[in-house]
Symmetry: D2
Subunit: 443 residues, 4 copies
C-alpha cells in the first residue's frame, strides 16, 4: 500500500503553497467566525497558531499541504482547529492557494519584464547611431540601426507582459466558498474572503470554479510566448557573437569554458535561454493533455498541475532575469560590424533610386537584379562599378548613384512610421520611455 500512498501524495511538490495555505486558512477562519461557527476565542487561537505554522514549516508525512497545515493546527489548538474545515473542501483550497501564489508570481515576473525593457531602452540609447546589417533568412538584407533592432524586443516584451496581465484577470477570481463543487452549507461570506485575500472577484459557479485549471494553462502559455521570443534573440546573440560574425561580445562567456579545450568561451547562458522555451512548452503540453477529456468537476488527474505550475513559472522568471543580466553586459564591436557589412545591402536603395528617376518598380527591380548578378559574377562592389557600366543597365543612372552606398544614407532613406530612420527610432524610444513611465505609476 505504501507505494500507492507515495503515488498519490503530493506534499513534496505542493509545499510551495504553504504560505498561501496559511493565508487562505486565516481568511476562512474569519469567515467561519462571521458565520458563527467559530467564536472569538477560537478564531484568535487559530490565527495565532497559523502564524506559528507559517514560520515552522513541517510538511512531512502528510498527504498534501492542506492536510499538513490542518493537522499542525489541530495539534496546536484542539477543538478550535477541528472546526476549521467546516464547510470547506480540499478541492477549493488547492485552487485558491494556487491562485494566491500565482498572483504574486505574476507581479514579480511583470516587474522583471519591465526591468528587461529598461535595459533594452538604455542599450538602444547608448548605442544610437550604430548601424548593423539587418537580416532576413540569416542573410544580410538592409542596414538598420542597432537600436532599431534591439527595440523590436521591447515591443515583443510589451505584448508579452500585456498577455500575462490579461491572464491575471482570470487568475484573480476567488474559488473559496465553493465547497467540494456544489457550494457550502455554511453561510460563508465570500465577499469577506475576497477582501481578506485581495481578490478582484468571486467565481459565479461553484462547479466551474472547482473544475477549472485553464488559469494555469493560460499563464504558462503567456510565459511560453515570452520565452519563445527570448529564444530567438538568444539565437541571434549566439550567432552574432561567434568568431565569424564578431558583432557583439559578452565578457561572461569567458566563465563558461570547456573541460577539455582551454580556449573556449561559450555562450552557455544564451543557449540555456534558447532551451527554456522548450522546457516551459513541455509543461504546458503536459497539463493540457492531463485535462483533455476529463469529466467535470474535480478529478484527481488535476493534481498533476503542480509541477507545471511551479516549475513553469520559476523557469520563466529565471530566464527573463538571466537574459536581462546578460543584456546589461552587451558589448558592440563597431569595427567588425562595419567590416562585415556587404555592399549588396544597398540593392534595394538602388531600386528606390531608379523609381525616383521614374522607372516603375518591376523594371527597376529587374534592372538591379541584373546589376547584382553582374556584380557577384565579376566580383565588383557597387561603388567600384563605373558610371559607364551603370548606364549599360539603365540610362537613368547618374553620378549621384554613388551617394547611395553608405549605411547612414541607407537608413535615412526610410520614411515610414516604425522604420529604421533615426528620427523614427528616436521617436520609438521616446514612446517606449513613456510606456515605462506610465507603468511605474500604475504598479
Amino acid at each position: 500500500m505504501s507505494s500507492f500512498h507515495d503515488f498519490n501524495k503530493s506534499i513534496e511538490i505542493d509545499e510551495f503553497l504553504w504560505d498561501a495555505e496559511i493565508e487562505a486558512s486565516k481568511a476562512y477562519a474569519k469567515a467561519l467566525f462571521k458565520a458563527g461557527i467559530l467564536d472569538k476565542k477560537e478564531f484568535n487561537s487559530i490565527k495565532k497558531a497559523l502564524k506559528k505554522i507559517k514560520v515552522n514549516k513541517n510538511p512531512n508525512s502528510f498527504e498534501d499541504v492542506h492536510m499538513a497545515v490542518l493537522n499542525l493546527l489541530i495539534q496546536k489548538t484542539g477543538n478550535s482547529g477541528k472546526k476549521l474545515h467546516t464547510g470547506r473542501s480540499r478541492n477549493e483550497q488547492v485552487a485558491t492557494d494556487e491562485r494566491i501564489w500565482l498572483k504574486e508570481k505574476i507581479f514579480e515576473i511583470s516587474k522583471e519584464i519591465k526591468e528587461l525593457q529598461r535595459v533594452i531602452v538604455k542599450i538602444a540609447e547608448k548605442n544610437f547611431g550604430v548601424i548593423i546589417p539587418g537580416y532576413t533568412h540569416l542573410r544580410q538584407a538592409q542596414p538598420v540601426l542597432f537600436s532599431h533592432y534591439i527595440m523590436s524586443l521591447f515591443w515583443k516584451m510589451q505584448r508579452g507582459e500585456e498577455r500575462l496581465l490579461e491572464a491575471l484577470k482570470r487568475v484573480d477570481e476567488l474559488p473559496l466558498g465553493c465547497g467540494a463543487f456544489a457550494g457550502s452549507s455554511i453561510p460563508i461570506d465570500r465577499n469577506l474572503l475576497k477582501k481578506e485575500l485581495r481578490f478582484s472577484k468571486i467565481s459565479e459557479n461553484s462547479i466551474d470554479s472547482v473544475s477549472d485549471r485553464n488559469f494555469i494553462l493560460e499563464v504558462l502559455f503567456a510565459l511560453s510566448l515570452i520565452l519563445l521570443d527570448l529564444s530567438r534573440y538568444a539565437e541571434d546573440f549566439i550567432i552574432f557573437s561567434s568568431e565569424e560574425f564578431s558583432f557583439i561580445y559578452f565578457e561572461d562567456f569567458e566563465k563558461f569554458g570547456s573541460s577539455m579545450m582551454p580556449h573556449k568561451a561559450n555562450p552557455d547562458i544564451f543557449e540555456l535561454i534558447r532551451a527554456k522555451a522548450g522546457k516551459i512548452f513541455g509543461y504546458l503540453t503536459s497539463l493540457y493533455i492531463v485535462l483533455k477529456g476529463t469529466p467535470i468537476s474535480y478529478n484527481k488527474d488535476m493534481q498533476e498541475d503542480k509541477i507545471p505550475l511551479k516549475e513553469g513559472v520559476d523557469t520563466a522568471f529565471n530566464t527573463i532575469r538571466a537574459f536581462k543580466e546578460m543584456l546589461e553586459k552587451l558589448k558592440i564591436n563597431k569595427e567588425e560590424i562595419r567590416r562585415k557589412m556587404g555592399y549588396l545591402v544597398y540593392s534595394t536603395d538602388i531600386v528606390d533610386y531608379l523609381i525616383e528617376k521614374g522607372m516603375n518598380f518591376e523594371d527597376a527591380y529587374a534592372t538591379v537584379k541584373k546589376l547584382c548578378e553582374f556584380s557577384k559574377r565579376e566580383n565588383i562592389p557597387f561603388d567600384c562599378i563605373t558610371l559607364k557600366k551603370y548606364k549599360e543597365f539603365s540610362s537613368l543612372f547618374e553620378k549621384d548613384v554613388y551617394l547611395i552606398f553608405s549605411p547612414e544614407s541607407s537608413v535615412r532613406k526610410k520614411k515610414t512610421y516604425g522604420s529604421t530612420h533615426p528620427a523614427w527610432v528616436k521617436f520609438q524610444i521616446d514612446k517606449a520611455k513613456e510606456v515605462l513611465k506610465n507603468t511605474k505609476n500604475k504598479l
Copy 2:
C-alpha cells in the same frame, strides 16, 4: 528543381488569404497614390482590376497568393500594376493578410460562442428544478441542479471568448508599411492604411512587426482552451448518455450507427468534439516549434504558419457550432436520474446536520464516515437506518435526520454565492442573461 518549387510554394495553402490580399492591395494602392507614386488614372485602373481579380480567383501556377494577385493585376493593367509593389515586401503582405483574415474569423467565432451561451441559458431555464447527482472523480458526490451543472460551461465559454477578444487586440495591429523589415523608402502613410483596412493601431517597429507570429499562436491557444473545455463536457455527455447512466439523450445519435451492429446509436459528434482539442493543440505545438530559436527577423520557416492558422481556426469554429447544435437537442431523462441517484450523496448533509447540532467538523466527519461504512457493509440506505441505530453513532441524531434525504432539501441547504441553491442558480442565470444582453449591444 521542380521538386523544390513544390516544396517551397504555398499557393494551395494560402489561397484562403485571397480576399485579404485584394483588400490590402487596394489600400496600398491608395497609399501609393497619396505618396505620388501612382496617379489618379493608374490608381483607378488598379482598383477596377482588383475588383475583377477578387471574383475570378485564379491562384494556379504562382508561388503564393501575393504573386498570383500581383501577376494577374499586371496582366490586366500593365505599367500601373508594375508600380503596385513599390516599397512593399511579401514579408509585410503576408502578415497583413493573415491579420485581416483572422480578425474576421475571430468575430465569427465570438458570435458562435455567444450562440452557444444562449443555448446553455435556454437549457438551464427550461430544465430548472431537475436535480442530478453531481460528480467528483466520476463518483456521485452531492446533488446539484442540472441548471447549475450546465451553467458552469457558460462561464468557461465567457472566459474563453474573453481570451479570444484579448488576443484580438494584438492581432489588430497593422504591419503594412514595414517593408521587408526595415521600413519603406516610399512615404507610405500608415495611418491611411490603418483607416482603410480598419485596424486599431499600427505597429511601432518594423523589425518586430515582420518577425512576429505570436499573434497566431495566441489565437490558436485561446481556441485550444475553448476546445479543451468542450472536450470535458463532451466526455460527460458521452458517459451520461451511455446505457448505464441514461441521464440524457440526443436523437441524433440514431444517425451514427455501426456498419456491422444494427442496434448502435453512437455519440459520434461528441467523440469528434472531444478529439478536436487534440487536433488544435497539435497545430499550436507545430507552430511553436517552428518558431523556436529562429533568428530575427523574417525566415522562410514562418511560411509553415498557414496550415495551423487556417485549419486551427476552422476546426475551432466547426467544433463550437457542432457542440451548440447538439446541445440544442439535449433530452433529459428525469426518471432515470432520480432512480440512479444513490443515497450516499447525502453524507455531507449529515455531517452538516451534526455540526448544526454542535459537533465540531472533524468529529462529525469521523462519525458519518463510520455511518457510511456501516451502511455500505450492511447494505442499508440512510433513510432505512433506525433512529436507535443512528443514536449509536451519535446521541445528537434526532428524528429530523430523515428530513435530509431528498435532492431538493440537499440543494436548498447550500448557502454560498455561486452554489447550487436554486436561488443562487436563478441569480446566476439572470447574471448570464445580463452578460449576453450587454454583448449584443456591443457587437
Copy 3:
C-alpha cells in the same frame, strides 16, 4: 554572477548520474592505464578512491556531477587524480553516464511490464467465463469474455516492451572515447571501455555520438505509448467502477476519500495513471523542442535533457507498477454485469442468423435495423418479441431465433482467430504464457 552560476549549474538535477559517473570514471582510468598515461599505482589509487566516493556522495557546490566526482578524486589522490581527465571531455561523459543509467532503468521497467503481463494473464485465467458487454463508442456493442477484454492489454504491453527494448539497442552504444566531439589524442582503447561498461557497441563517429540525444527521446516515447495505453484502461476502470456501471471494484478506493464528503471512495490511483500520459508526453515535447534547430555538435541546450530523462523514466516505472498493484486487487461483480447487459448486444447475432438462412448481408442488416427500431420504440426486448412479429420482419425467422439471446451463445458464435470465442481466448492465453516463459529464459 551568482545568478548565472545557478542558472548554468546542473548538479542538483544530475546527481542521479553519480553511480554511473563513478563506473565510467573507473573504466576510463583502466583505459588510461592501458594507454600508459597512468601507472599501476596511480590506477589503483584512483580505483580505491572512486569506491569511497561512490559511497560518500557529496555533490554540493560543484557545477555538475562530473566536476564533483573529479574534484573529490583529486582531493583524495592528488597527482593521480589530476591525470584522470586526460583526453576526456564532459561532453562524452554526460552522454556515457546517461546511457549507463538508462540501460539499467530499461531493464527495471521491462521487468515491471512482465510483472504486469503476468497479473493480466492470472486475471484472465481466474475470471475465464465471465462475459461483459464489450464497448465501442462507450455503447454496449457485443458480448465478450472479460478475459478477452483484459488480454487486449497484454498485447499492447507486449508491443510496449518490444519498442522499449528496440530503443535499448541505440541506447547501448558507447560514446566514451569521443573527446569533446573530434575524438581523443590519447590512444584510448574503446573496446576495452565497451567491455568494462558492458556496452554492446561503440559509436562510429565522434561528432554524431556527442551531438545525439535522440536516444533519450526514443525511450521517453516508447514509455509514452505504454502510459497512453494505460490511460485508456484507467479510463475504462474508472467508468466500469462507477456506481452506475458497478462492473468492477477495487477495495483500495476506500482509502481515497474526500475531505468533505465522508462517503467517497475515489479511483484516485487510476485518475493519476490516466494523467501520467500527459506528464511524460510533456517531457518528450520539451526535449524535442530543446533540440530542434540546434547546431551540430554539442550545445549547452542539451543540458535541459536531465529532468525529462530522470522524471520521465521514473514516472513510467511508478505508473506501470501502480497499475499492476491495483490490477491485482480487481474484483468483478458478475451479477451487476449480467444485470446491465442490454439485449441489443445481440443485434449482430440476428444479422448473422439471417445470413445463415440465406439472406445477403445488406438486406439482413436493414431488416435487423428495423427490428431494433421497433424494439426500442415499443420497448420490447428481442426475446419477448413473438415469432409472428419476427416473421413480419422476415419470413426466414424460425423458432431457433430465441436461442441467440444468451451471452454464452453469442461469444461462441465468433469464429475467427483472435476473436472472443472461449476456445480462441484460451489459445490466446496459452500463447501469452509461452511469451512470458520465453522472456523469463531470456532475461
Copy 4:
C-alpha cells in the same frame, strides 16, 4: 443536420486509402469465397468490379472511403456486392487500409533515406581532406575533416531508418477478421488474408487490434526524429552559408530571392526543412492527445488520425528528398574555411603536447588556459608567440611546439576509433559503404 454530416464525414481526407480499400476488399472477397459466403461467380464479379472502381475513383457524397467503394460495388454487382460486408466492420477496415498504405510508404521513405545516405558518402569521399573548424556551442572548437562532419549525419540517418523499420514490424500486423472488435461469426481464414495482403502476422486479440492506433504514432515519431536531425544540419547549413561564414554554397539559393531586395539569395529550402520538424511533431502531438484517456475499444475520436497519418508521412518523405537534392549541390569554399579557422582551435593540441612531455592533465590545462588568455589579451596568435615566451608558461615547451599549428597535424593527432583522424574517417566511410551494400541486397 447537414452540418453534422460534414463534421462527421471523412471522405475528403481518407481518399488516400482508396487503393488500399480496394486491395483489402478483394482479399476479403476471397476469404468470403473460401468461407462459402460467396460462390465463384459472385467472387469473380466482385473482383472485376473492384478493378474498375480502383481506376474510376469517385469518392463524392459518401461518408467515408469504405462506404464509397462498397456502394459503387453494389451499384455494379447487385446481390454479390451486398454480401461483401458480411462479417466485416468499418473498424477493422480502416485499421487494415491504414496499415497497407503505411507499409508501402515506409518502404518509399526507407529507400529515400538510403539515397540520402549515398549522397552523404559521395560527398564525404569527394571532399576528403577538407578540414573545417568543428564547433561546440557554435564556437570554433577543434579542426575536423569535413568528411567526418558530414558522416555524422550518415549514422543518424542509419538509426533513423532502423527505428522506422522496427516500427514497421508492428504496422505489419493484420487486423482484418476482427470484426467490430469481438471477432467475426463468419469463418474468415485470417491466414489467407495475411497471405493475400502480404502481412507478416495476424493480430492475436480482436479488441486490441481494433483499438490500436499506436502504430501510427510510432511511425510519426520515428519520422519526427529523422526530421529533428535534419533540422539541425539545416541550421548548420544556413549558418555555414551565411556571408559571414561563407564555408559552403548552394547555387539553388539564387532561385529564392526577395520580392523587394534584388540581391537576396536565400536558403529557403533549408529553412523549410528546419521547420518541418515542428510540423510533424505537431501531428504526433495531436494524435497522442486525441487517444489519451479514450475508452477501449473503438471510438470515433480515432477518425482524427487521418490527417496526422497522411500529412505527417508525406511531410517526412518530401523533407528527406528535398534535403538530399540540396545536399547533392553542395559546394565547399576551402579558401574561406581556411581563412576563417582561428588559431585557438589548437589549444587542446597544446594541452596534449604538455601531457606528452610529462605534465598531468590538470596542470597542462591550467597552463594553456593562461596561454590562451595571454594570447587573446595581447592579440598574438599561437604561432607568433616566441619560444622564450612559451617557456615562461612552462619550461617543457620546446621548438617542436610550432609543429602543432596546422589543421592537418591536428586531425592526425586524434587516435581513437570514431575520431576525425583521416584513417579512421576512411575506415568509417568504408563501413558505411558496406552498410549500404548490405541494404541493397536486402531490400
